[in-house]
Amino acid sequence: MEREVQRVYREITGRKLAYLSVIAGVLIVATLIDVLTGPAWLSIREVVWAILSPATSDPTVGVIVWIIRLPVALMAIVVGAALGVAGAEMQTILGNPLASPYTLGVSAAAGFGAALAVVLGVGVIPHAEEFLVPMNAFIFSLISCLAIYFIARGRQAQKETIVLAGIAILFLFHSLLALLQYLATEDQLQAVVFWLFGSLMKATWTKLFIVSAVLFVVTPLFSRDAWKLTALRLGDEKARSLGIDVERLRLKAFIGVSILTATAVCFVGTIGFVGLVAPHISRMLVGEDQRYFLPLSALSGALLLSAASVGSKLIVPGTVFPIGIVTSFVGVPFFFSLILTRKGGYW
């Protein structure tokens, strides 16, 4: 019997590990292509040389690769991974296939915060010119999450309460954002709209470090509760019967999702689609055992955003499109192919 159970378990986990390896491999390739492409047509040799030996390579090539392309390519990975993980946990704790990191109005609040900085020049933190817009976006994202958190806590963290409170917050910040857009000058309006599209082009090593640090601190916290979060997908009643403190777990995961989303959004704007679809892709491939679902959601999110980053540079050669516009174009065909080829029952 020991052998039989080991065989069955290996068969289940082996398939999942294979999917994880394949997506990780494709992600590495996508990242390399991302670094190789851009308005300045550099050869593979020049790029590889600039990465491996920055001191002896052409200084212009070095600047393009190290200051522009690498931060953008790596930012695509960490932001994609953060949105993938946040989406996976949001769908898990709300038990809702339509949930994404933005379901609860985080994007609207971040958009309002950013617009406030652009239009009125009002910053939450003084003397932080470079970080004025992202800091505002971050703070307002957290304000919206905190509002939902306290409402939810007062109602035993019921899923329905969280979703309804989130939708109310979403509409509130949409209205406030519309008001600011109405008051803005033409230039300011353009800047706000550009921020809302989402773009990786303002990525720097500092911003990359901050998003990575948050991703690597928050994700292990989800991993520690992997089995409990998996059980939550069986429904609240069932999870409680297995001895899980559902309210506590949901609020804890919600805090993690909020911090992760707010950090990702504040630097790159509201990049949609990734946080919604990456978890679905992972679910279709490896199911909802969080030990595989969580890492694959991160990898799928990173891959989607990397592919979109490449796409944003190839649509019109010499121009970089805002990535938020491109993500759906790149992801939808792949997503549809999965829906059409997989047998049903993935939610």
Binding site: M1, E2, E4, V5, Q6, V8, Y9, E11, I12, G95, S223, A226, W227, K228, T230, A231, R233, L234, G235, E237, K238, R240, S241, L242, G243, I244, R283, M284, G287, E288, D289, R291, K343, G345, Y346, W347
Partner: protein
């Protein structure tokens, strides 16, 4: 080992659901029966620690919290949402408190052993969202058994199962109860299943214990008429167990007259 429930009361929005319920249960199968809204499910949830209640629930004199609560396994009536998990993964969730990122051979062996006991080993790698309602109920039963509980609480565990499966499950529940000397409380609607498989019966009516005792003492026409409002005849079979044959609602008979 003894489970003691003393003076347990529970109200939902000022409506009393359970009122001063007291009983003791030994390591055997105890059926909790009664009409709809009698408080059967609520009683099991209170014992499982899922509802805040008044009164005391104790195992061998110790309050049901912390380590003691971990010895209780509760199987709710609801099967649960069909998540994208294999049967083996779903059963492993029953042991989530002892699992880490890497699943030990012991946990795997226990999960697979329960699947074999239930005849589900061939389904181990099948996703639970592709199973029938009955198969899903079997998986839920496996989840509650794999924990290795000392107190097993089951709310209508066989409601979605065919006759053969019902009997197989109750044979297994009896076997597990006797072998492991655990206290098993099963909320049931089927009086004949209670008669056949329970060593002891607690009859709940309107949130109170109407009568408690062995199946022969509790399952009689008088109780069935006063608690369920149903006319019935109760025979004794070859094994000396009561067999309930319903004859119609007591109301209807009065109406006919």
């Amino acid at each position: 080992m003894k489970l003691t429930v003393s003076d347990l009361s529970f109200s939902y929005e000022n409506t009393p659901i359970l009122q001063s319920v007291s009983f003791q249960a030994d390591p055997m199968v105890t059926a909790v029966i009664g009409p709809n809204a009698a408080g059967k499910s609520t009683l099991l949830k209170c014992i499982a620690g899922l509802l805040k209640h008044r009164g005391r629930v104790a195992l061998d004199g110790r309050e049901m919290d912390g380590d003691v609560a971990r010895k209780v396994s509760y199987l709710p009536q609801e099967i649960g949402s069909p998540a994208a998990l294999t049967v083996l993964e779903a059963v492993l969730l029953g042991r989530h408190s002892s699992l880490s990122w890497r699943v030990s051979e012991e946990d795997l062996g226990l999960a697979f052993g329960v699947l074999e006991d239930l005849g589900l080993e061939d389904l181990a790698s099948r996703p639970i969202n592709q199973l029938s309602g009955g198969q899903n109920q079997m998986v839920s039963i496996a989840q509650s058994l794999v924990k290795g509980p000392e107190v097993l609480l089951m709310d209508e565990p066989t409601s979605s199962l065919d006759l053969r499966r019902q009997l197989e499950i109750f044979d297994l529940v009896r076997e597990v109860t006797v072998e492991r000397e655990i206290i098993t409380l099963v909320a049931l609607h089927d009086l004949n299943l209670a008669a056949r498989y329970a060593d002891s019966v607690i009859v709940l009516n309107k949130g109170r214990v109407h009568i408690a005792g062995g199946p022969r003492e509790t399952l009689n026409s008088e109780m069935i008429s006063s608690v369920y409002g149903v006319r019935s005849e109760v025979y004794t079979d070859d094994e000396g167990l009561p067999v309930v044959v319903p004859k119609g609602s007591a109301k209807r008979r009065r109406h006919k007259r």
